[in-house]
Point group: C2
Chain length 233, copies 2
DNA sequence: TGTTGCTTAATTGTCAGCAATCAGCAAACG
DNA sequence: CGTTTGCTGATTGCTGACAATTAAGCAACA
């Protein structure tokens, strides 16, 4: 008997797949902030019924990518400077906890794996593949979170990382000092491997501080705060 | 012009209200863990269509109160010791961040308000109104989080507090050791009012440590994944 | 000119029914 | 006697149609 591949990917519920499609369009910037989403139009394009589209949109609303104005409209959410500050401060707290727990759980092969990913990141940056670098960066953080063996933390982290991506797409934000980035990652990984929980947590939190401080400064300057329509509750 | 009250509460969409109903039944323990939920039955009891019930159940699934087995069934989720450990560690991290930010924002009237709630809590306990005490306890923490002026943090906190309530209901929570609780709250509030961010964060995190340590111990014993008795908050 | 109320087209909210899928059971088979 | 196979009833997944609500345009009017 030859090995068979799971059919689960095919069997995924229609509304989930619809949500996936819309989500990737949003996260790739095809659908910009404020763009109105018509249920009928989406249902035609995706070739599913309106009810299915509705279900998909509800999911995306839970993820914060889309907003619902009752009886009126769906639209792609926008991220303001305040939102960005919220996202990065939350990320710092979650990754701080993650790093602390990871330091308690880490094993020898885990350490090698982390160093391997860090190496990939280094090469991507050195070779100017910044698109890849961003992706590997996310993978590295996800790998640390995974070591925490904390399902809810992982879930929240996936959520907040998606928000980060969402904001990066909308604001055209990119890291500005890759050398610093590499150094910080290196230090964080080594702290985790050394099982130094306090230091790992501190470094994970500091890792987001550059952005947080920049954003806080923008906010004090009374920076750009895009209007955000109120969600229906 | 007199102040008018919003009509939103009346105009809330049907599926949200259905979710509210089912949610409160779950959080009051009327529907125990593992209980199967039939869409048709719920739609008859709530006098709404099955599609509406479906939408409500999807929301509750996002909140972790309900699980979906595709094409087969919906059922009330259960919380294990691992779940409880996750919930309390996450809560510690979130409330730590909240307390830190609250300390930066707190004003004189805010401080009075916090002390007032703490007083209410004290009286409720002294008078043996433990039901109220639990509720006031949650309010106190929510009040601190509110001071952080961090919408996403508040959202996550509401979520995790709901999980705490969920777990308390399922594990047959019984209140005890309220003196320690009062002392810890007092210290936390005063640290926030003193704008001592480091201390406020530390205290907020320690506040959950008793449970976390107990749970970690239970986990190491490799034992009960079944309900256990917890201290409040 | 600006406001008010009506009309209407567009869009979302809800419903009832059909299709797809599954768990359980009993008959067929070795 | 144990295993496999095919049915059956029940339940969830999805769809198309209808109801409720909104926003915009337009006429009436002060």
């Amino acid at each position: 008997m030859t090995k068979l591949t799971s059919l689960k990917s095919e069997k995924r519920l229609l509304d989930r797949r619809a949500a996936d499609q819309i989500r990737s369009h949003i996260l790739e910037g095809v659908l910009p902030a404020g763009e109105r989403l018509l249920e009928t139009q989406l249902s035609e394009e995706l070739e599913v019924s309106r009810g299915t589209v509705r279900s998909a949109l509800a999911q995306l609303a839970n993820e914060g990518l889309v907003q619902q104005v009752a009886f009126t409209r769906w639209e792609v959410s926008g991220t303001s400077t305040v939102d960005a500050w919220e996202i990065y401060t939350l990320r710092g707290a979650l990754e701080g906890l993650g790093a602390r727990l990871a330091a308690a759980n880490v094993t020898e092969p885990d350490g090698s794996r982390l160093r391997g990913i860090a190496d990939d990141l280094l090469h991507a940056i050195r070779e100017g593949r910044f698109q890849d670098a961003t992706s590997i960066d996310f993978n590295l953080h996800a790998a640390i979170i995974e070591l925490a063996r904390h399902e809810r933390l992982a879930e929240q982290h996936r959520f907040i990382v998606q928000q980060v991506r969402f904001h990066m797409v909308q604001s055209g934000f990119l890291p500005n000092d890759y050398e610093e980035l590499i150094a910080e990652h290196k230090a964080l990984i080594e702290a985790v491997i050394a099982r130094d929980a306090d230091r790992a947590e501190k470094l994970a939190r500091n890792h987001n501080d550059a952005e947080v401080k920049l954003l806080a400064k923008l906010l004090k300057q009374g920076g750009s705060v895009k209007p955000i329509r109120e969600k229906v509750s």
